[in-house]
Symmetry: C2
Subunit: 551 residues, 2 copies
């Protein structure tokens, strides 16, 4: 079996027609959902690209792998999906974005050359690279945000687009009065990107994916990782005007959220991104573009699915459609992601398993509490690998795909490290304390705030829109304590005993006795003589008596 | 400055005259204590050789480095004391035991050759090796417990001792009626080991240490790591009969401990080692030998101190005397270590700092709650290195040595993973749940037992002998909850963000804006024009209008 592990960047869980979006029609996402299982309670381990992805790619919580924000390198030697799958005989390829930052210090310390296969995989989060393009070719007075080469920019140049950064000048800019109308400015979000649609990022990566599959030798896993619908919010024609102002839902926000708001939430509501998305004209410009970007993703997904059907690959390829986090889009007075309201931390998660064992669940939904880290063990099982629960912290979704009801986790955990953000400085929090933890048990969502702050608490059964932070007032001590117990149990988890599997440990038991370690012998009669044989026999010399003249 | 980091294996905190032992006179330990600070509340991070040592050598909790039992490899790439000190320009050498097990799978996965300097350090827990000898050359039907070569056995052979394993046949055996009297049998503990005293393990390692210092180029750190007074309990003349039955204190144990005992404690009380030490004749044989081994350590320490004084090294060498854990010796109905009563988890910790800043504290004691992981940052500071709080979880003891009273931790943490032991199987606990956590705040000691068991709680103010497990009955809910809060806070600690220091993080803030990442611009007026300059200017081509015939 092969695995097509498709990720869309910053795709909200509810911007798909199969998830109930009132205006956005995504027949190709729905087509996969109709043949697989749509998990309706899937959460990321951190609502930020880099940390979330490192969790997907390692199967481990953010606190376990340590790469807790964009640009925090994944430490050298951390086990990745690629390590696990290759051990099971499956290749593991990257086509698109990872947001992986190499642990250059660690590579140097261990003497690893980036040019070796091992070094290259360490630098690429365990993937072999078909195409690596993180899709953010922003440029400012200090240079490029991303200093690597951009295969996409090279592609655009080869197609005749001018300049050093056609990503910025064409794919992510429109034109107004002969001037560039940058996609970075929300005012330009309704303009068509100044690029042939087939040259824009999503079709480009889809073409690269088809090229990969054309030549791939089974079994393979391909991580097809689109930059879109992530900002800059601008999309080529015809997608730029498929949706208009009447397709923009009212923001999910309420004045009560701003009353006596938790200081950390208040700080995020006061940042520049939130301030922009609090303006309705920004939402009216941005959201139709965001929807257009998703519609384009859906059309390209259709192209890919058609290709898989034509080539017979639908019969032997598992398909996963997911996202690394959502997008507030002005909900809860916020933009971007970062915090733990559903539009940010919940993700789409659609899994199609071609095996007949999964026939019973096709076209169904599953509301189990799923974590992003569940995919790695799901893939390892699909690859026929040996279970690696001492490293992988997620749980295989296969039982759900087969229609079983396994024992399952009581709560999902997500984390956010805001030490790099201006909010850390404005709140006067130390870098070690600039951390948030979400525990959600399917009804209550507790957010623990390190650094001496009170927690936040939401009851999603009675307040599905998460307007009422119950921890603002007394009266919910029991629920808070219960959620803290769940968090504490998670905090004590066995996450770093990665050099010994359960099977290794069972095999070690009792072995030292058969290698002569018996620190409980009074006279040796406690164990079979074979275990003490080495201790017996004639004295080989007698130094004591020779020096003391006999005893 | 140099650092002499001396560890004795399994040396109890209270078997020194400076710590109040009534019969055992240790003038040389006392001599260091008189010139330094004796820390009276020092605890190991795990009361078992391997895990404890990996915490000493990494400055990190057992749950953080993951090598939680003997023979669990320290994962490749984990930062060690050697990494930190070498970065500060100080060499870091090993003379003796580490109990390090190489992460061979990780080395292979990263392509590291054990023959390279980098590979050798990875295999030796970051040390350069002057002598490595783990000192347990037990042998049984499945071969040697330790499959490496033994420099000590080679030394003995060179001195004319016969056979393949003179460690077992001479250094750790006496003679009775012309037969070997193995030191593994407690019945033989009162016999002199069949070896010239100067050839026994402690003098041998002391000689190797002096040889090292003779040739060492400052600044150096030397980890001098004695196997003794660890079992086998047998010692050469004249130490074998320096102490007798009237020097054996009564066991610290009470019948109340066995009443309604916690199931995990009960399982340990029922193991073979405990059963042996519950016999008073075992204690009467073993404890005088244990005292003789310590007395020999003290004499050899005197030899080393004399050498340092003669050569002027006392003026520029920090000296630390400590242990990796204690020894129950029958207290609390137990033998060995493993659990968290004071005789097991508390260690001697004497620190002599030659610098004049430490003059004010010479000969004093300090009752701050110290952890084994505090030594690594203490050494790093002594070496003049850059603070590494994102990796090292301990705190430098230097303020205490200077007579200051720093803000300090509220509680010490120790852990024990018993997954490999027969008790895990007999209790029917999974390998992931076979873990214990101790939290001690200077008065209350809570032991959390994973796997659904109740905790244990001791009040050392009212019950310094730890006979009364207060969690057997109701009435201490508030203290238990408070201790659990301390444990939960520790569980949420930032332990794996090792690739970014606090300084790195502060330096990252705001940098992305100057590299063109500005996801909050409505029209660009939000920021200085220099930040949006790259977004402006004439459109380089107009694909949209060229394809659509102008707009």
């Amino acid at each position: 079996m092969n695995i097509l592990f498709v990720m869309y960047d910053q795709l909200r869980f509810d911007y798909l027609s199969c998830a109930g979006h009132p205006y956005l029609h995504t027949p190709n996402f729905d087509r996969v959902a109709a043949r697989g299982v749509r998990f309706t309670n899937a959460y990321v381990q951190s609502p930020i690209c880099g940390a979330s992805r490192m969790s997907f790619y390692t199967g481990r919580y953010a606190s376990s792998h340590g790469a807790q924000w964009n640009g925090f390198p994944l430490r050298v030697g951390e086990h990745t999906l690629g390590d696990h799958l290759r051990k099971a005989g499956m290749d593991c390829w990257l086509i698109g974005k990872t947001h992986m930052k190499v642990d250059a210090e660690g590579m140097t310390r261990l003497g690893l050359s980036p040019d070796s296969i091992i070094g290259a995989r360490q630098a690429e989060c365990g993937f072999d690279v078909w195409v690596r393009d993180d899709g953010l070719w922003g440029e400012g007075p200090d240079g490029f945000y991303d200093e690597k080469r951009s295969p996409y920019n090279e592609y655009l140049k080869s197609r005749g687009y001018a300049g050093e950064n056609p990503w910025a000048d064409f794919a992510n800019a429109g034109v107004e009065n002969g001037e560039k109308a940058s996609g970075w400015m929300f005012d330009n979000a309704d303009k068509p990107a100044n690029i042939r649609e087939e040259d824009s990022e999503t079709p480009w990566l889809t073409t690269r994916t088809i090229e990969f599959i054309e030549q791939a030798k089974a079994p393979w896993c391909a991580h097809v990782s689109y930059i879109k619908p992530h900002w800059p919010y601008i999309v080529p024609a015809p997608y730029h005007d498929m949706y208009g102002q009447n397709h923009v839902p009212a923001a999910i926000r309420a004045d009560v959220e701003r009353e006596n708001a938790h200081p950390v939430y208040a700080a995020f509501m006061a940042n520049k991104i939130a301030a922009a998305f609090q303006q309705d004209d920004v939402r009216r410009k941005v959201i139709p573009a965001y929807m257009g970007l998703i519609k384009q993703c859906d059309d390209q997904l259709g192209r890919l699915l058609d290709y898989l059907e034509e080539t017979g690959r639908m019969e032997d390829t598992m398909i996963v459609l997911t996202s690394d986090h959502g997008d507030y889009l002005g909900d809860h007075w916020l933009g971007e992601k970062d915090l733990f309201h559903e539009p940010s931390v919940k993700i789409p998660m659609i899994v199609y398993d071609p095996r007949s064992e999964a026939d019973a669940t096709r076209g169904t939904t599953c509301d189990a509490l799923v974590e992003a880290i569940d995919l790695a063990p799901t893939f390892l099982e699909a690859a026929g690998g040996v279970e690696a629960g001492h490293i992988l912290e997620g749980r295989s979704l296969s039982p759900w795909l087969r229609g079983e009801t396994p024992d399952w986790r009581e709560a999902v955990i997500s984390e956010y490290d805001y030490s790099v953000t201006p909010m850390c400085a404005s709140l006067g929090v130390t870098t070690k304390d600039a951390r948030l933890f979400m525990v959600f048990d399917g009804r209550y969502k507790l957010i623990h705030v390190e650094g001496g702050f009170r927690p936040m608490l939401f009851d999603l059964e009675n307040d599905p829109e998460e307007f009422h932070d119950l921890a603002k007032a007394d009266g919910h001590e029991a629920e808070i304590a219960r959620m803290y117990d769940l968090l504490a149990r998670w905090g004590r988890r066995m996450s770093q005993r990665v050099t010994r599997s359960d099977a290794d440990i069972a095999a070690m038991r009792g072995k030292s006795a058969r290698r002569g370690i018996l620190p409980f012998l009074k006279d040796g009669s406690e164990v079979p003589e074979e275990l003490t044989e080495a201790y017996r026999g004639p004295a080989l010399q007698d130094h004591v008596s020779s020096e003391k003249g006999g005893r």
